[in-house]
Structure formats: C-alpha cells, structure tokens
C-alpha cells in the first residue's frame, strides 16, 4: 500500500479524486482515479473535469523530471473522450509517455483506459514550456532509477457524497450564455498557489455544456477539450465567456474564454470544447 503524500492539503481536489500515480524508470507513468457517482455525468460517463485533472496531474509528474533541472509551465492540454459502457468502468487509468523532451518544450501523450476491461476511454496530449526554475519552486527530487508509487487519497476524502462540480464550487451564472464561475481556493490550488490545470478543464466543460445544451436544444456532455493556458489564475473567481461555434441536435462546439475577475479580468485560458447529446 502506497503512503499518502505530504502535498496537497487534506481537503483538496486531488485527494477527493483519490488519485494514485506510478512513475517508472523507463520514463512511462500511469495514474488512476476511481469513478464514484460524484465523478460521473448524468449518463454515468466520466465527468470531463475529473479526467482533465487526472491527465494534468499525471503530465506534471512526468514533465518535471523530463525538464530537470529546469521547471515547467503547462502550455496546452488536449483531451478526447470515447463513449463506453458506464456500468463496466470502476476506475480510469491514464498511461503516459514522453513524446518530446527538448530545450524549450516537453510534449506528453496519454492514453486512457477503463478498469476493469481495458477498453480505450480516450487520449490526451500536453505541451509544457521549459522555464528556469524559480528559487521558491517546490523541490522535486525523485530517484530516476526507482519505481515511485503514491496515492493522494486519505481517510475521508472522495466524491461518494458530493459531486465534483459542487466540491469545486462551480456556479452557473447564465446557462444560455455559458457564464460559469469557479472560486480559487486552497481546494483547487496547485503547489504554486494558482488554480490547477484540471480545474480549468472542469470550468470550460461546464460552461460549454451549459451554452450548448441551450444551442443544441438537448442536454449535451463534453467529450473533446483543448485548453491553451495563457496566464495563471491566481485570485479568482474565474469566469467564463462562451461563443458557440456550431450546434445541431446531435452535437456542438464552443469556444470558452476564462478570465480571472479578481485580477483585472486577465484572460487566463483559451479553450474549445465539443459536446455530444
């Protein structure tokens, strides 16, 4: 049984997702999250925000050693989800590998699978910018020759009794316009004190689903997400602005811009999201 890690704090998004990760000497890594009701959509599918957080956390854990001794900043994240039998998946497994480790960027590829069953659930790619390590950056000291396995679950954490969106504090301000707010609290902060990359995925997907449910005339769920991170979200609340790109009764797509309302409305993230009915 793996030991709980010291970071993040006891009440935190990563702990409630009960994320577990393993990093191996061959440069590959895997991570898992269980799928209780609070991490699923109304149809039982994995909720986009949970999977985005899984991919983001795995990616960060892989890109840091790849960029060592430098530091990294997430530049973009693409996630495609596939349909599956909701009753046949208890856990989602993400398997990552480094596609490029260069002077300026690290690119990762992540494939997603149902557990049990091993059916493909989707794929993701991420780009990290390599930046000079700041003095105050957390020390990341991992023996590259050893297998490292860690869990972020602690007793009492989980999404059995609360939905992820409620735990995050997502608030739909104007569904038809796709205006949704997310507070930035310790629950969603990363080790730099800014909002987790995965939280942006939850926010963008929720905003797109709200706007496209109206535009498509039927409830839709996010299946495809591209996030381009422009600035850190540090103050909050984060607030979305949605622009519908296409809409039909079967599916749609929207652009979601995410602003930090507490920081002079700086544009933090440029996202596009596709949803299906």
């Amino acid at each position: 049984m793996a030991e709980p890690a010291a970071y993040p704090p006891d009440r935190h998004l990563l702990r409630d997702l009960r994320l577990e990760a393993e990093h191996r000497p061959d440069g590959t890594s895997s991570a898992w999250i269980p799928l209780p009701a609070g991490a699923r959509t109304a149809t039982g599918a994995p909720v986009m925000g949970a999977v985005t957080t899984l991919v983001d956390a795995l990616g960060g854990g892989m890109a840091l050693p790849a960029a060592h001794p430098n530091w990294i900043a997430t530049a973009d994240l693409t996630l495609h989800l596939l349909p599956g039998n909701a009753d046949a998946v208890d856990v989602i497994e993400a398997r990552g590998k480094v596609a490029r480790s260069g002077r300026t960027t690290v690119v990762l590829e992540v494939e997603l699978f149902d557990v049990p069953g091993d059916a493909p659930r989707g794929m993701a790619t991420m780009t990290f910018s390599v930046i000079p390590r700041r003095v105050e950056a957390p020390v990341w000291d991992r023996d590259p020759e050893a297998v490292h396995r860690m869990t972020l679950a602690i007793p009492g954490s989980g999404l059995d009794d609360i939905h992820l969106h409620d735990a995050l504090g997502l608030r739909v301000v104007d569904a038809a316009a796709g205006v949704v707010e997310l507070p930035i609290e310790d629950y969603t902060r990363n080790s730099f004190g800014a909002a987790q990359g995965g939280a942006f995925g939850a926010l963008a997907a929720t905003a797109a689903e709200a706007a496209l449910t109206e535009a498509c005339g039927a409830p839709v769920e996010a299946v495809d997400l591209h996030l381009t991170y422009l600035e850190l979200g540090k103050v909050g609340p984060l607030r979305t602005k949605a622009t519908v790109l296409r809409a039909s009764p079967a599916e749609g797509a929207a652009r979601i811009e995410i602003f930090d309302t507490g920081a002079d409305d700086v544009l933090t993230t440029w996202a596009t999201v596709a949803c299906v009915a």
């Binding site: 780009t127 381009t228 296409r246």
Partner: protein, 267 residues
C-alpha cells in the same frame, strides 16, 4: 537554424494564400489571409479541407507570431483547429492575432476563419503556439506592413494530395493506414524544414485513408523538424463517437525521427 533559404511563400501557393499585415490600433501585429475554395483544396465536406485550413492558419498565425517576437522568429509547436462548418463558398478569410507573448515560452496566436462568400459565416477557429528562437545568422527584418502575394498557382490537376504526390503505403503493425510524402524544396520552409502546412495535409490525407474523412477537430504537435523524407503519416483508429477518433504519428523515414504527433476526429 541557418539563415532563411528563400522567402517562405512557396508552400502558400498550393492554397493560393495571400497574406497582409493590418493595424488594428493595439500595437500588436494582426495578419489577415485569404485562400480560395476550389477543387484543389476541397474536402469531403464540400468546403475547404481541414488540412488546407490548418495550412492557412499556420501561415497566418506563424507570420503574426513571428512579427510579435522580432528580431527573433518562431517555429510552430502546436496547432489546433476546430471546425464550425464543413461547407464553404470561399474565399476563406483568416484573421490572426496575438493571444500571448511569453518572455521564454513563445507566442500564442488565435486565428478566426470566416467564409467571405457566405456572409462571413464562421468556418472555424485555430490556435497556434510557437516557440521563439534566435536564428544564429539573424532574421532579415521584413518591410512593414507586410504583404505577401502567393504568385501564380502551381499548374496542378486534381487535389492537393495529387499535387504533393502523397501516396498510400502499407501501414506498420498497430496502425490502420499510412501515407507518404517525398520531401522536395517545394514542401520545405525557408529553413529547410518540412512546412507545417505539409505536415497538416499529411494528417488530413492519412485520416482519409483511415476512413476518418471530413475532420472537424484536429491537433498537431510538432516534435522535431522533418528534413530528409519521405515523411510517413501513420494513423490508428482509437475509437468512435459518431465518427472515428484517430491518433497519427508522423515519422521522417529518412532520418528515423518522430516529426509530429496528431489527434483528430470527425463528427
């Protein structure tokens, strides 16, 4: 990176891409570009193919990002396209603007694509992320405002795939389709690297070969420069929603190098 070999507009001729710099009063570069919709670039959806739109977005976004970091220049690292509609009258009008200039992390440009022949209907949106590099021999400073005319189009019969002589090959184990492009100066950029647009067209071509035509979303990660060739694009169908979702590896077979990684899907 050596000094630019040419003026960098040859590849744009394939899609008839005309580029010009405009002043929107922000002090940040804005590039507008136009490309006609004709049989050369038409895709299975009836309008401009995703590959041609990615080429247009790469051209406009790349020039916009490059001007934003002068005297440095840029190389594309990531290009995303999401389509709003597949039928276009043309010309398609691209407008690229800077979303972010990082001190070290490069430039992000957003590109809006509209159909001038259809009351400026939205065609789609693209985002291009580029790394800023310092050419060792310097970057020739362009005359501003920039205006690039593609010159006469190449004499071509058929489609872009025919023009570039992209051909099917047997896919390696684990893949569902593969296509190849022989590398000539016609498909290289000014630094001798296979043009981002040519890479995007290969993604489109192998998607078609994998029966995943009429792409509505595509993301290309440029990993390493392709210089030798042939460039082989290998597609694997990962799964299906309404249409297939594919993962594409692009390999420089002559240099045994992973050139790009892409994912794409159809509705």
């Amino acid at each position: 990176m050596s000094a630019p070999r040419a003026d960098g507009r040859q590849f744009g001729r394939y899609i008839g891409m005309r580029l010009c710099e405009v002043d929107d009063g922000t002090g940040s570069p804005v590039i507008e570009a136009w490309s006609p919709v004709n049989d050369l670039v038409r895709g299975p959806g009836g309008g401009m193919s995703a590959g041609a739109l990615l080429t247009l977005a790469d051209g406009a976004g790349g020039l916009c990002g490059g001007l934003a970091v002068l005297p440095r220049w840029v190389v594309s690292t990531n290009l995303m396209l999401r389509m709003a509609r597949l039928d276009h009258v043309g010309p398609v009008h691209a407008r690229a603007r800077v979303l972010r200039v990082g001190r070290r992390s490069g430039v992000v440009t957003g590109i809006e694509l509209r159909d001038e022949g259809n009351a400026d209907a939205l065609v789609g949106e693209a985002v291009l992320t580029s790394a800023a590099l310092e050419p060792p021999e310097g970057m020739p400073l362009p005359t501003r405002p920039i205006a690039i005319d593609p010159g006469p189009p190449p004499e071509i019969e058929g489609t872009l795939r025919d023009a570039l002589r992209i051909y099917d090959v047997d896919p390696p184990d684990g893949y569902d389709a593969a296509v190849r492009l022989d590398v000539t100066d016609e498909v290289r950029n000014p630094w001798g690297i296979v043009h981002g647009g040519a890479t995007a067209l290969l993604v489109d071509a192998v998607a078609d070969a994998a029966q995943a035509s009429a792409l509505t979303e595509a993301v290309v990660h440029f990993l390493h420069p392709g210089r030798v060739g042939p460039i082989e694009a290998r597609a694997r169908i990962v799964g299906r929603h309404a249409g297939p979702m594919i993962r594409v590896d692009l390999v420089d077979a002559g240099a045994d190098r992973h050139v790009a990684l892409a994912s794409a899907r159809t509705v």
